[in-house]
């Protein structure tokens, strides 16, 4: 938690943007309860949901009042105030906690109290199905630039070698983002018809295939023709595409998927599919890439059951082994996706353990970093959101 304090016209302010998630509601209720304890009946608790405002006398009544007025998804703000002393606004529309008061000492007191409640309180797990889509879409919208490019982070750069999951936003009901991105992409191919990892860089198979997937997924197939030609003419004799050693299987699987989605016939893709399958049998690029490559083959309706059985032997014995604080979030999601592929039930402790790990790794801006406590990024965020969707959280 980090907030900024300023003094404006005799009012001290604490603002902490993107510090507040719907999942923090119980921490906030605890915070309000403590304020009421110290200030008594003078405190007014006011909230707005579904255009309706209500005033509740006790912190404990916040949750029932939201449920009665509308739903947690329509919660606009909760304001806690004592006239002429302070106004605390938990603004769920932008995910910001603001404290305004006339006294600097009091401001720090509130700041400390909030941080204490934040540290000791727990996440409102029952609101996951609302918070993950809503706040995730807020993060993704922040990544979208005005020119339509989809940046790696809000205000960051565009990377095209890891946007192959963007078409899956359709599954999350977020086609508006992928369509807008497709509009941007069709204007910037390289002269050879391909795309590089960043706009302007020399063309690579993985970036080009990702763009084909986005264009085709957005109904702009005709715009992908030159990119498809690039992929077909740069395919190696063994059916693979040149890439660094750590991602050749993934590059080949994603490129084959892109061509398949475009409508290239199966017999033309046979050697690429065979290459990906053989490589997955013989060696590993790591859980993350293997899981994604398998996913691509599954979408192509390739039988992968034998591969799953083989990969099972490569998985770590327990999920705890990879969910320490230093673990890559993308690797954990890939692992649990593999477990689900193997028919493991969602009630399985390993899946539940992974869910807890993911909730605790999520940033308050609604996004996920590659590693805990880092900046949220586009790719792990989409991956994690897709995982929660697979578990039924978006219904």
């Amino acid at each position: 938690m980090s907030g900024g304090t300023t003094k404006e016209s005799a009012v001290w302010e604490y603002r902490s943007q993107y510090s507040l998630s719907l999942l923090d509601i119980d921490r906030l209720i605890d915070f309000v309860r403590k304020i009421v304890e110290s200030w008594g009946e003078k405190v007014r608790i006011h909230l707005r949901a579904e255009e309706q405002s209500v005033q509740v006398p006790k912190a404990q009544m916040i949750r029932p009042a939201i449920e009665r007025t509308g739903s947690f998804g329509s919660l606009s703000y909760i304001a806690v105030s004592v006239l002429h002393s302070f106004l605390i606004t938990a603004d769920f529309r932008v995910g910001e906690l603001r404290v305004a008061c006339k006294n600097e000492k009091l401001l720090h007191e509130f700041g400390n109290k909030w941080e204490e409640c934040f540290k000791t309180g727990s996440i409102a797990k029952d609101l996951l199905s609302i918070a993950v889509p809503l706040e995730g879409s807020r993060f993704l919208f922040a990544c979208l630039a005005e020119n339509g490019s989809l940046n790696e982070s809000p205000g960051g750069k565009t990377r095209l070698d890891n946007v192959f999951l963007v078409p899956c936003l359709k599954e999350l009901g977020m086609t508006h983002i992928s369509t807008r991105f497709a509009d941007f992409l069709k204007g910037i191919p390289n002269p050879d018809g391909g795309w590089g990892p960043s706009p302007g860089m020399s063309s690579r198979a993985l970036s080009t295939a990702s763009v084909v997937l986005i264009l085709v997924g957005s109904g702009q197939k005709e715009q992908a023709k030159r990119a498809v030609d690039f992929l077909l003419s740069n395919r190696l004799p063994d059916g693979s595409w040149a890439s660094d050693a750590n991602s050749q299987i993934l590059t080949t699987a994603i490129s084959a998927l892109a061509l398949c989605q475009y409508g290239v016939k199966d017999d033309i893709l046979r050697s690429s599919v065979l290459f990906a399958k053989n490589q997955l049998r013989q060696r590993s690029e790591g859980i993350e890439n293997d899981s994604l490559a398998l996913g691509a083959l599954r979408i192509m309706k390739i039988d992968i059951q034998d591969l799953i059985t083989q990969i099972r032997n490569r998985l770590p014995e327990s999920i705890e082994a990879i969910t320490d604080t230093d673990s890559k979030i993308t690797a954990v999601v890939s692992l649990v996706n593999l477990l689900l592929d193997m028919g493991v039930k969602t009630s399985d402790l390993r899946i539940q353990h992974a869910i807890d790990f993911l909730i605790n790794s999520r940033n308050s801006d609604g996004g996920w970093p590659v590693k805990r406590s880092n900046q949220s990024l586009l790719y792990p965020t989409i991956l994690a959101m897709l995982f929660f969707n697979r578990l039924g959280y978006f219904r």
Binding site: Q55, P57, R138
Partner: protein, 326 residues
Amino acid sequence: MGGGGPTISRRPGKVVPPREVSRRISEMTREMIREKRAIRIDKIRREGERYMEEVKNKIDPFLNDHGPGHVERVVQNVNNVTSVLDEATFSEKEMGRKVNEEDKFLLEAAGRLHDIGRAMDTAKQHGLLSADFVREHKELFDSEEQQEHAAKLCELHNEAGTREYGTDNLVELSRKGIIDKETAFRASVLRVADALDVGEKRVKTNSQGRPGEEVIDELRQSSGDEAKQYLPHWYGHKGIKDCGLRMTNGKLTMKISLNTQFTEEHGSDIAFRIKDFLRDVNSTIVRGSYEISFANEDKSRIREWYKDYNEIFSDETEGVKAHFVE
């Protein structure tokens, strides 16, 4: 056209020049379109009222009016806001043109149906449900495109309905190309028009048509805390006489008239209603372009009220000039 061109004669001996013929044909076509739209609007109005009547009891009776009275006021506000924003050149700036008949039709259609989702399953936001209703009633519109435009306006009319986009800010949605500029303009008109129904008329009755005073009495006398939670909302509305958007001396002005008898006892309730109203307005293209004029028969009392309670809506009025008028 010179004397040699073709001419059409309506009456023997009276020759109408071709330019005049074409003008008359255009005028007749426009008139026919207007009539057709008026018939459509009437159908929409009747269908909206019929459906609302059928399901109105599903709306929480302790909520203020979301029924036919509110709908009529929103439609009136839509017309007023449209012409004010047209006059203030917002339409030119946003859409590169003046407001046309199609804009007016879509706004009235959406204005009539925007809250219909209130009476449906509450698990989904009502704006989205209203949009679903529009999408299910193809027969009310001329084309699928028109139907979709109207549905979009219902979806965008409030904060909650736009959450799935990642923001409710219509300016940001338009700037990032998620909605086009015409939609941003129309949705802004509807959102402002809806928000402007923040005055005492909103609590004259509840959605079922029960007199507001009776509802307030029941809420006041109820033993549980739960019902009483609604009272500040009702008082907040009662404290606002009227609210309107107009051009005053070339400036866009939001005039908020307060009821003096309420400012003392329910000052903060009024301030919270104004906060909510301004939150809605500030998520539209109007943000940062208007001044507020607080009006009351007693200027000094309104100043006192403002001094006491303006901190409640200070976030929403940051950078906004406020006046006080009698």
